[in-house]
Symmetry: C2
Subunit: 260 residues, 2 copies
Amino acid sequence: MGEGKKRKNQAPRRRRWDLEAVLPQLLRAAQGATVLNLLPSAIHELNNALNTILGFADLWGSDPSLPKTFREDLQTLSGSGLQARELLTILRFFAEGVPTEVQVVPVDVREVCKEVGKILAAAFRRHRARLIQNLEENVPTILSDAARLRFILSALLQNACEAIAHTGREGQIRLSVTRSSEGGITLIVEDDGTGFENAEALTNFVPFTTTKPTGKGAGLGLFLVRQLVEDLQGKLEVHSTPSGTRVTIHLPSLPLPSQV
Amino acid sequence: MGEGKKRKNQAPRRRRWDLEAVLPQLLRAAQGATVLNLLPSAIHELNNALNTILGFADLWGSDPSLPKTFREDLQTLSGSGLQARELLTILRFFAEGVPTEVQVVPVDVREVCKEVGKILAAAFRRHRARLIQNLEENVPTILSDAARLRFILSALLQNACEAIAHTGREGQIRLSVTRSSEGGITLIVEDDGTGFENAEALTNFVPFTTTKPTGKGAGLGLFLVRQLVEDLQGKLEVHSTPSGTRVTIHLPSLPLPSQV
């Protein structure tokens, strides 16, 4: 790859932090870990409740004695139930986190983009961020790790949304996926919000460096993204100005484990 | 208080870590932060779907033309919908995290215990951990911070559940809340799982120290608990043997902000 070598020639990253200085961010991260741990249980309980609801909806849907108007309403109810179940499925993917080792499987990147867009829909509405997805039809299914890709996309879209929230006005997030050379993909997340203030943090991705108010962000977003992109043997470019940020990621289609 | 003074006389805590050594835990924490950020949006979308479902259930419940057996099933459906809504409310509390400053309000500790028990119910079932809640009737409503208390309880119950999971057999978690002197409460979480291996980590609560397999736990549980207990001006005692762990927390009823 030559990547490891290249990095050794660069200035060494800062490797140690002072506990007091990063305490608020650390506590935020600890809260995140606690929530991450209880989430599978919460999702399971919610799913049980939804199954009961959808079970009755199924039962009633096949009962000809119930009035016609009722059956139309029932379809709306079932639709909401199925939508909730889909959201729980996406949420469960996130709750599972990324596996320690990269798990290479065929990944439909456009599908992952749609999932992440759905789960963040309320955040976009709330911050008046309009998500424009430009997902080319001919984007190939790549061999990659879906869990890592999901976290990369989610972290980038959250950053973009917050950058727009900072402006206090409405904004746009453009998410595009295109076919790149050698069967890989290029993923671009672009926002017209406030850019990053700390250019050093952008290029070095020092964990716990954040431009957000104390205790609000964990300062781990881009740190996580960089690490996950490296896991997927991809490349990451960040371009930020006061009027917006563009993050470009090139991801190759990886060899299947048996081919390594 | 005398607490600050006392601590200064002890050996100083380790204040710096090596990045490479804590990278897996750091990445787990970063994932947690990412999920914590997307959770409010997911909960909002799920709530919308549930509102549609409960809206129709209400409508049908007041329609006398529908058959009687149907109306009985409808009550079960409504019950599941309401249960899901309650779970989402508890989950939203967790998603909001703890406020930077302690927010003193009247807190019904027994209610918080019940909430946390509900959201972790599936985790307890899965790991064959039986939760036995011993919540005294005469436990007073204390002035404290409900969000902090919720995270303390959740982290302790998760630890207890994992300690039982490690044994590979079923186990018991006892959660008791009793009235203590001066209007405060004493909270005890006791499990019969494997104890903590690292006694030093227990007493010093070094963040990112974990006895769990790499990448599984963030090693932030007890670190978070200790910090939150200190925020609430409480005291924390941990007693761990190979056959179980008991955590005791004494929490005072705090003065209201206006009385400070």
